[in-house]
Symmetry: C2
Subunit: 386 residues, 2 copies
C-alpha cells in the first residue's frame, strides 16, 4: 500500500504482514467461514483452523496449546495478565519496572483505585532492571511481578529468568511482556520461567488485532473479557479465525527464520550505529547490552525528534521518535526519563528498528541520510521546541 | 472454505464475510501496512484508513465518528460498557434483563465481587422485557441499565427507547447490546436514545475479531483495555487496520442493503416457520413479536436439539441448537429457562437464522428436511438425553 518511504526502519512499531501469514489467511477471508463455536461441520472447520493456529503459537512459546489464550493483541494480553495475576477480586502488591509498556503501566495505575499497591523498580542508565532491586521491592503480600523481556523503545533485555525465580521465592506470580522480544529472542526459556507471558502478532509480521497470553498450566486466571465460554472461559468472544490463522503462520515463520535473521540484522544494526556515531557529534546511544539485535535508539542534542522523523520521511526513511503509540506526543518519553537521559538529549530521540526484510542498501541509505538531516535541522534552528 | 452444508441457516452465529468487506481488506493485507499510530506517511495512510472505517461505522450508527470506539468484538464492547457504565472504580447498582448475552451477564456477575449490586429483570413468555419492570427495579444508586436490543437466540426485540428514557429518569446510564440487531434494525434511533451501544463486525458480514462501542459524546468512560493512548485513551492497543477497514465496508453494505433484505428475508422466514409448524406436531415457536426478521427459534418435544443439529448438518443444513457460543453445552439455555419454555421442550431447541444471501431454495430445502429429521430422531428414540 505504501510507496512513500522506500526504507522502512520502524519494525518495532509494526512488522508488516509477511507473505506466509497473508497466504494462510486468504482461505479464511473468502467463502463461508463459520463461527468456530458452531457445532456443525462448517463451524468445526473453523475450529480446527483456530486450534492449529493455537498449536503454532504454542510451538513458538514451547508450551502446550492449552496454555495459549488468544487475545486481541499485546495490549489486551498485558492488561489480562496484570488483572489476572492479582487474583479476583484483584488485591495485594504489584511490582513492575519503571520502563514497562503503557499496557502494563496503565492497568497497574488504575488498579491502585481498587486497593492494589504498586511498586516501580527503577532501571539503570542502560535501561536494565537489577534483579536485586526487584528482590528488595518484594513484600509478603506481593501477588505479581511484571517485568518486560525487551523494552520497545531502547531494546534493552531484562534478566527475566533471574527475576522470575526471585518472584517465585516469595510465592508471587511472574509475568513478562515479551511483545517486542518475540521476533528476536527464543521465548521458550522465558516461558519455562514465567507464569504469564504476552506476545503480539503484528510485531512478528502477523496481522494486527491479535495476540496471545501464555498462562501456565494449572493457573486459574480470572478473565479480563468475559462471556460466551470461549477458550475454556479464559477469554470470551468469538475467536477471530482468519487473524488467528495468520498469527499462527507468523509464529511458524518466526521459528523458522529467527536465528538467521538475528545474525544478519545485528551486523547491519551495529554498522548503522557505528557509522552514525562516527559522523554526528552530539549524539548518544540509549540503552546498553544485552539488547534486541534490531533496535538502534539514539538521541541528538539540539535537534527535535519529531521534526527529524518528519524530515527522514521525506528522505525516504520511515522511522520513529520513540514508541509508535506515543507518536506526536509533546513530552519526553517516560522511558528516556527513567534511564536518566540528560536534559539536552531528551527531545531529540530517534529509533531506527530493523526487521527480517531489512537490507544492506536500506542501512546504507540511512547512513547517508540521517547525518545530513540532523545537521540540516540544527542549522535551521529546529532545536528542541518542547 | 466450507462445502459441507449447502444451506447455511446460522447467520446469528456469524454472517460470513461479504465480498465488499473482503475486497476492502485486501490492500491492507499486502505490501507495507504500518501502525496507524506511526508519525510517518506510511503510518498516516493506515491512520486515514482506520478513520474512514470509523466514519462508516458512525454512519451506520448515526453518530459522530469520535463517538465510535473500536473494540475486538461485541463481547469486549459489552464488557467495556458494563465496566465503564459503572464508573471508576465501578460502584452502585446495575440493572440487566434475564436474557442478556453472557458478554453482559458474566461481567455483571463478576462485578458483584467488587461491591456492585445487580438486579435481573425477568422477561415474559415471549422473551420481552416490560419497561415498567425496569422502572420498578431502579434505585437511587442505579448507575447503569443494560438491556439488549435483540436477543441472539429467539430474536425478540426490546423496547429500548422506552427503557432508556426510564433509566435516564433516575439519572442512570443506558447501554444496549445491539450485536444481533445491527444487520436488521435501524440503529440510529437506538443510538439517539442510548449512552452506550455495542455492535460486532462478524454479525453483519464483516471480519471476526472487531466490533465497536458507541459512547455518547461528553461521556467520559473508564477504559477496559488500557495503554498506549490509542482512540483518545478510550481503548489501548494498536488499531487493527485491515479488520477495521473490513468492518467499515460491512457497515456501508448493511446500510445500503438492509431495508431490502428485511422485506425479502421476513417473507422467507415466515414461510419456513409456517410450513414447519404445519408439518411437525409437538413443536413450539419461541419468542414473540416484535422480533428479528431473520430468526426462527423453535423447540420440539421428544427430540434432542444437539442431535438434530448434527443430523441436519448431514442433510446439508448448518443450523444451531441455540447460541453458537453455548454449542455442545449439556444444559438448557438460560434464555429458554427465563422465558418459561415447558420442560419437555427445553432440550429440543433449534435456531434457524437467515441472512442477506438466503434464497427461497435454501428455505425449501429446510422445509423438506427438518420435519423428516425430527421424525427420524423421535423414531430412533433420540429424545432428550440431558
Amino acid at each position: 500500500m505504501s510507496t512513500a518511504a522506500k526504507v522502512y526502519l520502524d519494525y518495532n512499531a509494526s512488522a508488516p504482514l509477511c507473505a506466509e501469514a497473508a497466504d494462510a489467511m486468504q482461505p479464511w477471508l473468502a467463502g463461508r467461514v463459520c463461527n468456530p463455536s458452531s457445532a456443525h461441520r462448517s463451524g468445526q472447520r473453523s475450529r480446527a483452523a483456530v486450534e492449529q493456529a493455537r498449536g503454532q503459537v504454542a510451538e513458538l512459546l514451547g508450551c502446550p496449546p492449552a496454555a495459549v489464550v488468544f487475545t486481541s493483541g499485546g495490549t489486551e494480553a498485558d492488561n489480562a495478565a496484570v488483572w489476572g495475576g492479582l487474583g479476583w477480586p484483584p488485591r495485594g502488591h504489584l511490582v513492575i519496572s519503571a520502563i514497562e509498556h503503557p499496557a502494563v503501566m496503565e492497568p497497574a495505575a488504575a488498579l491502585r483505585d481498587l486497593g492494589v499497591e504498586v511498586t516501580h523498580v527503577p532501571v539503570d542508565d542502560e535501561a536494565r532492571v537489577d534483579p536485586e532491586a526487584v528482590r528488595a521491592a518484594l513484600r509478603p503480600d506481593t501477588a505479581l511481578v511484571s517485568i518486560m523481556a525487551a523494552n520497545n523503545e531502547v531494546g534493552s533485555l531484562q534478566p527475566v529468568e533471574k527475576i522470575a525465580a526471585i518472584a517465585h521465592d516469595v510465592g508471587a506470580l511472574f509475568h513478562t511482556d515479551a511483545v517486542q522480544a518475540a521476533a528476536w529472542i527464543d521465548l521458550r526459556p522465558l516461558v519455562a520461567a514465567s507464569d504469564l507471558l504476552s506476545i503480539s502478532s503484528h510485531k512478528i509480521a502477523g496481522p494486527m488485532g491479535i495476540g496471545a497470553l501464555y498462562v501456565r498450566p494449572g493457573l486459574d486466571l480470572a478473565p479480563l473479557v468475559r462471556g460466551g465460554g470461549q477458550q475454556g472461559g479464559r477469554r470470551g468472544g468469538t475467536e477471530a479465525t482468519a487473524a488467528m490463522v495468520g498469527f499462527g503462520a507468523a509464529c511458524a515463520r518466526t521459528l523458522a527464520s529467527r536465528d538467521q535473521a538475528v545474525v544478519r540484522v545485528v551486523a547491519l544494526r551495529d554498522r548503522l550505529e557505528a557509522m552514525l556515531l562516527d559522523s554526528i557529534e552530539g549524539m548518544r546511544r540509549n540503552g546498553g547490552e544485552p539488547r534486541l539485535p534490531n533496535t538502534c535508539h539514539m538521541s541528538f542534542a539540539r535537534c527535535d525528534g519529531n521534526a527529524l522523523v518528519a524530515r527522514l520521511d521525506l528522505d525516504g526513511i520511515a522511522a520513529s521518535a520513540g514508541a509508535a503509540c506515543a507518536s506526536g506526543v509533546a513530552h519526553a518519553s517516560p522511558v528516556m526519563e527513567a534511564l536518566g537521559v540528560p536534559a539536552e538529549y531528551l527531545a531529540g530521540a530517534l529509533r531506527l528498528s530493523l526487521g527480517y526484510e531489512t537490507t544492506a542498501a536500506d542501512v546504507d541509505h540511512a547512513i547517508d541520510v540521517v547525518p545530513t538531516a540532523v545537521h540540516a535541522l540544527r542549522a535551521a534552528g529546529l532545536e528542541a521546541v518542547r
